[in-house]
Symmetry: C2
Subunit: 255 residues, 2 copies
């Protein structure tokens, strides 16, 4: 249930080693849903760490939704499959690979355009500013899944047109060439019917159901970096979301 000992000279923090070990026990099925995990004090005593460190490991798994805690009772494995992709900022290829599909893309266009009001608002730039527009058909196992158009302010990524090979990973290029890391993204999803242009690219009949996405990706400091408009085939794509309860503070009752 607990490791024999921790590597105190490793670059991996102690709380992370503890968390990894317990997570493995859960994923491997040795710890089953509703099973209690060792208490904070037991972890502290057995692994010779302070209780705060044991607590940090548990808090971490708690935030991941792997376990839940009950005051006075203990900490228990939550009966949830985490195999499923709860949606994170993943590139299309990362997402498909995670599901065991072979991802590929076909570039429809890669050019600079002028910002219309929608782009200007999304990217926080001025009207008519130059914007890099990359439109790709996304394929899984050679079947078209989606049409996706990424837009980035040229000002944020000067020379992207020359530095970037549109057949490679955009997020990788942002990281390598500009040190830009996408930290989170907000997206709006709507149901719609495939328009003529999309239906051709997706190889479906016009009027087929599609999921329309608009997504703004942000860097760590809250600056919008990428605006994506996409249409996903309704017959081949579904969203999987995890909804959680709003966090609330614990009240300490006065005596």
């Amino acid at each position: 249930m607990l490791p024999q000992s921790l590597d105190r000279h490793s670059a991996i923090p102690l709380y992370f080693q503890i968390q990894q070990h317990l997570s493995d026990e859960i994923r491997s099925g040795k710890l089953r849903p509703a099973d209690p995990i060792p208490s904070e004090q037991e972890i502290a005593a057995r692994l010779q760490v302070s209780r705060m460190t044991a607590r940090q490991a548990i808090k971490y798994m708690c935030n991941l939704g792997l376990v839940y805690t009950r005051r006075g009772k203990g900490t228990f494995v939550s009966g949830v499959k985490l195999e499923k992709n709860f949606r994170q900022v993943l590139s299309f290829s990362e997402e498909m690979r995670a599901q065991g599909n072979r991802a590929s893309s076909r570039v429809v266009h890669f050019k600079t355009i002028r910002a219309d009001s929608e782009l200007a608002e999304a990217l926080h730039i001025g009207l008519n500013e130059e914007v890099v527009s990359l439109c790709r058909v996304r394929l899984a196992n050679s079947q078209p899944m989606a049409v996706e158009a990424s837009h980035l302010a040229l000002r944020s990524v000067p020379n992207l047109m020359k530095l970037f090979n549109p057949r490679s990973s955009l997020y990788q290029a942002l990281s390598d060439n500009y040190g830009i890391e996408v930290m989170f993204a907000d997206e709006i999803v709507e149901a719609g019917l495939a328009r003529a242009r999309e239906s051709k690219l997706l190889r479906v009949v016009a009027g087929s159901p599609v999921l329309y996405f608009r997504r703004i990706a942000f860097t760590g400091n809250g600056k919008p970096i990428e605006y994506v408009k996409a249409a996903y085939r309704g017959d081949r794509y579904k969203l999987v979301n995890r909804l959680t309860r709003p966090e609330g503070g614990t009240l300490r009752h006065k005596s």
Copy 2:
């Protein structure tokens, strides 16, 4: 920027008071996106708390996405509107109210049925077990928005048929009568075309775009309690999601 002092005799934990104060400063606009918030040490010194307590307050806001931290630099306000509903487990009425709409419902049916294989799998019960089925049309400002059918294993909520007024809040009834609190939910969203029965209830023409939801709500211990199937009008409803980066452990570099 920081409160004058904390209420040390309050039932509210110190870290929560600190977090509340800083959150208010952000929401009111006194702290603007990309502004630094006071450092952990400054909070600790000025408010006479230990650094770990200051840190806990910041960690809390960090988890909410209100701020982000940069090692060696500080903690900064993330430029994100949190007014938007990032999706939580909310009842339809809570969700509509949060958006300033008047929510109401029309009960289509409220009865017990036998579990088919889909229900049995979703609720972790046996085939043909008794299930409470509550189907409602959801209205916002008297306009139909969605058809929603909730299913609960009768075994989990004995007497629900008698205890519950289908025109009132289901989640409230679960909490009041059974002490059941929904802690999280997993949902699958797909795009589709309104079928005949749905199009009548939603007052749209058959074949209009809709968002199909299947949602399983769980109690804290990971037990599935409710299975919802719903169809939302594609022209009136959109999803807003916040996608985040997978959390990773920080590596401590060896010297």
